[in-house]
């Protein structure tokens, strides 16, 4: 069973990082979004530092959503979803492996890029680590909540639109606590510990519920 999960994880990573795989797309979008904000807002560093955390989290959310709908739909289109369903490994664990691959290809690069963007937004050097930490803890929630939408998108006609419609409301708590934790680290005076713990709780819950719901959606809607 572990062989099957490792195979899915490694295959999805190879597909993501090879030409046209889309692994770089999210981080490029993230960088582009944050890079143009100072031009739109103007050279007001205190303002940029104040809205920076929210911008970083909005950028992370949108960058994660970019190729989320392809997690299962690409497998459905080329017939490899049938192979996944015939594997002895439970579909829930296969969905988990696919979620981890998506996060490694999309979420982790955002975490790594965040300090650079923090500098551009006038975030103080001592808060850059906290900025990355909030994304490290919070972006798995975006991916694993997104798995549910990705499964529906693959199994329903014109399901791509559903990803955004269904997933955005679910991600609002992640956005609230992610931005709150980042704000606490950057500007204070709020406690950093409370929102970061809630963010971690949401991520852990999404890690469990997302693959189960995604597998249920695929089983119910297969045709």
């Amino acid at each position: 069973m572990t062989g099957a999960l490792r195979a899915v994880l490694m295959r999805d990573l190879k597909l993501a990082f090879r030409a046209g795989g889309g692994a770089g797309l999210g981080v490029v979008f993230f960088l582009a979004l944050i890079a143009v904000v100072p031009f739109a807002v103007g050279p007001d560093l205190p303002l940029l530092a104040r809205i920076g955390p929210a911008l970083v989290w909005l950028g992370a959310l949108l960058a994660t959503l970019l190729n989320l709908d392809r997690i299962f739909s690409a497998d459905r289109e080329d017939g490899s979803l049938d192979l996944l369903l015939l594997s002895p490994a439970p579909l829930e664990l296969i969905a988990t492996a696919k979620g981890i691959a998506h996060w490694l290809a999309t979420g982790l690069p955002l975490v790594i890029a965040a300090p650079i963007l923090g500098v551009m937004l006038g975030v103080e050097p001592k808060a850059l680590l906290a900025l990355s930490l909030t994304l490290l803890i919070g972006t798995p929630a975006l991916t694993f909540l997104g798995l549910i939408g990705a499964a529906l998108a693959a199994m329903l006609p014109r399901g791509g639109l559903l990803v955004a419609v269904l997933i955005l409301p679910l991600t609002i708590p992640v956005l609230i606590f992610g931005a709150a934790a980042t704000s606490a680290a950057v500007t204070g005076p709020m406690s950093f510990g409370v929102p970061i713990r809630l963010l971690a709780a949401i991520s852990l819950a999404a890690l469990v519920a997302g693959p189960v719901a995604a597998a249920a959606a695929i089983r119910q809607l297969r045709d």
């Binding site: 062989g3 195979a7 049938d82 045709d223």
Partner: protein, 201 residues
């Protein structure tokens, strides 16, 4: 010896009753050609047996194999299930690891399906026939008792078709069962025909 048994099997697709009240019993060692008009339900029957489609009514069971029918099935469907960005070998190794086969069979499968020279080429560079051969190579790397083959000879040249027939004969000769949805003549040993249709439109 495995036995595939269906009782009062019914299938509905898109509101249309494709077939109804279907009963059969096939045993290991047989190759069964499933024939019928377009839309008669050949593909639906294979997907239903594989557990990829829920039946509208009735049941299908595989006796003499594992409890979970899906884990005893090897399906070669219309879509080859290949990733164009992966090499021929990577595609085969992935199928093998996913379906619980042995990596030791990968090289022999590549040679048998005449793909050894193409092993390091991305699958997107293959012709339709070569992609079909790569999909069929999964039959060799993963030993499962029940093969469900949907138009397996499509896009294959005469030599590749003969190789496929030999593989199927070897499988049935060792107690395996093969269900083959086809419109083509199959020169196989222990071949029986199961014709479906009647309510197809």
């Amino acid at each position: 010896m495995i036995q595939l048994v269906a009782e009062n099997l019914a299938c509905v697709r898109g509101g249309r009753r494709v077939f109804d009240g279907m009963n059969f019993q096939f045993s290991g060692g047989e190759a069964v050609a499933i024939t019928g008009a377009n839309g008669a339900g050949k593909t639906s029957l294979l997907r239903l047996v594989a557990g990829l489609l829920p039946p509208e009514a009735g049941s299908v069971s595989l006796k003499g194999a594992g409890e979970d029918i899906s884990s005893s099935v090897q399906l070669i469907a219309h879509l080859d299930g290949l990733k164009g960005a992966l090499t021929v070998r990577e595609n085969l190794v992935f199928s093998c690891e996913l379906l619980g086969g042995s990596n030791g069979n990968v090289e022999s499968a590549l040679h048998t399906m005449n793909l050894a020279a193409l092993a390091e080429i991305p699958a997107r560079m293959l012709s339709a026939g070569q992609k079909r051969r790569l999909a069929l190579a999964r039959l060799i790397v993963t030993k499962r008792p029940l093969w469900l083959l949907d138009e397996p000879t499509s896009a294959l040249d005469a030599e590749s078709q003969n190789t496929l027939f030999q593989i199927i004969d070897t499988h049935t000769g060792t107690g395996g069962l093969a269900l083959i949805a086809t419109h083509a003549a199959l020169p196989l040993k222990n071949l029986r025909e199961f014709r479906i249709g009647g309510v197809a439109q």
